[in-house]
Amino acid sequence: MPDSPAIAHEAANSAHAEHPSYLRHHFNSTEQQADASNFAMWLFLLTEVMFFGGLFTAYLVYRNWYYPAFVSGSHQLNVVWGTTNTLVLILSSFTMAMAVWCSETSRRRGLVLCLALTFILGLGFLGIKSIEYSEKIEKHHVPGAHYSLQSFLDPDSDAAARAAGDKPLQLDMARKTEIYFSLYFLMTGMHALHMVIGIGILGFMILRARAGAYTAGHVTFVENFGLYWHFIDIIWIYLFALLYLISRH
């Protein structure tokens, strides 16, 4: 059957009038487009699981081998800040879910509000994280050239270790705390990087939401971003449990 370009263009033109502006031309329908992009986001999150998985594997192995070092290291983290951050993120997941609902029910102002709240909560999380990181830097618990074993060899000199009732570690076990902190910074740092990217996209979304981009039927962007945001939240919950709550009484 000869492919006449004329037929092709005519077919395209007649179909043009019937579909919304956000339907990309390689899709047959908005349902197909939404379905495909949703599936793509779930797949992408699966790759993220594999990515973090490498770090979780390292954590599993080393925690198994150097448990006392991990306990002492974990006791150095501020569980108050950690819990606060967890609540902040869970709340932000709630506001994000509300945002998705607003988008689906075409509530433009509600959408902008919820996105803004999520944005602020996200920034709050990062703010608390930076407080925690600066504490770690001050105490020389950042792995590398300036790492200090003081808090682990002599827990009485350290408020956090005293509070947790830590016993002094032997030198060889104390050295292993550096691995704990490497994993701490790696895992929370990777998580924070994902937060930064998410917050950046949120900023973009707020601007577009104000212009009504997501309340005229095209909700997939908000929905898929919601998936991403919830995923980061879940990762944090695992990180909180694994990093902050080792042998806490």
């Binding site: 081998w65 570690l169 032997q170 030198l171 060889d172 076990m173 050295r175």
Partner: protein
């Protein structure tokens, strides 16, 4: 062979050695491994022949000129089953056979004599318990099981003796072992086969297999004067280990007499056999290896001893059967007891500590 002209025979031998397809078989395991290898070659050849024959014959019988109309065939469950099950069966045979050989290579017999190998960029340091040190060379006797205990000082290396068909990675931070029994005298290649930096291809040497008599002579002529155990004893003293590890009733650490090979209860729970790996870890990371009943006060020696130092300490501990100094080694040419059915030489030779079950 008399009826083959000596000229042709010489030519054949030269051709076979210069165009050898596999290395000389100089260990007990070598012919066993070669048997599996040749089985695999045979299976591969047959498989390849079948495939090539089928392709060729189908191409001839069914080319377009001869067979212009193709017959659409969906498939054949019987054929699928056949070429699933037969390859699977053959592969499983190779798996089992190979696993048997693998376990054989990495399960040393109890009477194996131990030689230590430390790999570093870019040389192999071989240490015999009697105090013979070699660089990029390994002398071994025929007819004796030899276990190599390997470790690296820096990066991954791999100790390979193609003629023996053995190879083992030398890893930084832990011991690996492999054993063999040499069967043919001669000099064979020693290679490092794990890429380790600039002079990886220079990290090669010779494995010299000698008759037991020649080996004894070599031991005598190559000794540095003190065995590894004696080196270890000196180190033990200089690091003040005896301050805690002695047989006094109020000793702060467990006595190390006869501890090698014994079953120890750890303070963290569980039991462990005090082998080379355990001893090394106990010296470098003591807090996880405290014997039950003792306080966790042993300091770590990480960074204070070289790998050779650790080996010397281990050899010392292996030979320790009392609180006192290791028997002076007068005659370092004796092979360890158990070889050739000879009873151990009288006082004055290195003796192994008793092994508790």
């Amino acid at each position: 062979m008399n009826h083959i002209s000596p000229v042709i025979w010489q030519f054949l031998v030269k051709w076979m050695t210069n165009f050898a397809l596999f290395p000389p078989e100089a260990s007990k395991i070598a012919p066993q491994m070669d048997a599996l290898y040749f089985f695999m070659v045979l299976v591969s050849l047959i498989g390849l022949t079948i495939v090539v024959l089928l392709i060729t014959s189908f191409s001839i019988l069914y080319n377009k000129k001869r067979h212009p109309v193709a017959v659409q065939i969906e498939g054949s469950t019987l054929l699928e089953a056949t070429w699933t099950i037969i390859p699977l069966g053959l592969f499983l045979v190779m798996f089992v056979w190979g696993a048997l050989i693998y376990f054989r290579v990495f399960t040393p017999p109890a009477n194996a004599m131990n030689i230590y190998v430390v790999g570093k960029q870019w040389m192999w340091k071989v240490e015999h318990p009697g105090g013979q040190h070699e660089i990029n060379a390994l002398h071994v006797p025929t007819g004796r099981a030899v276990q190599l205990t390997l470790i690296s000082q820096d990066v991954f290396h791999s100790f390979s003796i193609p003629a023996f068909r053995v190879k083992r990675e030398a890893i930084p931070g832990r011991y690996t072992t492999v054993w063999f029994e040499a069967t043919k005298t001669g000099t064979y290649h020693l290679f490092c086969t794990q890429y380790c930096g600039t002079n990886h291809s220079q990290m090669i040497g010779d494995v010299v297999v000698m008759t037991p008599e020649d080996y004894r002579k070599w031991l005598l002529s190559s000794t540095s004067g003190s065995s590894l155990a004696q080196n270890g004893e000196r180190l033990f003293a200089s690091l003040s280990c005896a301050a805690c590890h002695n047989t006094r009733p109020d000793a702060r650490g467990p006595s190390l007499a006869n501890v090698y090979g014994a079953k120890l209860a750890l303070s963290a729970g569980g039991t462990v056999i005090a082998d080379d790996a355990y001893l090394r870890e106990a010296i470098l990371n003591p807090s996880q290896h405290i014997t039950q009943g003792y306080a966790p006060i042993m300091p770590t020696y990480q960074g204070q001893i070289s790998e050779e130092g650790v080996i010397a300490l281990i050899e010392y501990i292996k030979n320790l059967d009392s609180d006192y100094r290791v028997q002076q080694t007068v005659n370092t040419t004796d092979l360890p007891p158990g070889s050739e059915g000879k009873t151990p030489a009288a006082k004055g030779s290195v003796s192994k500590g008793t092994v508790k079950p």
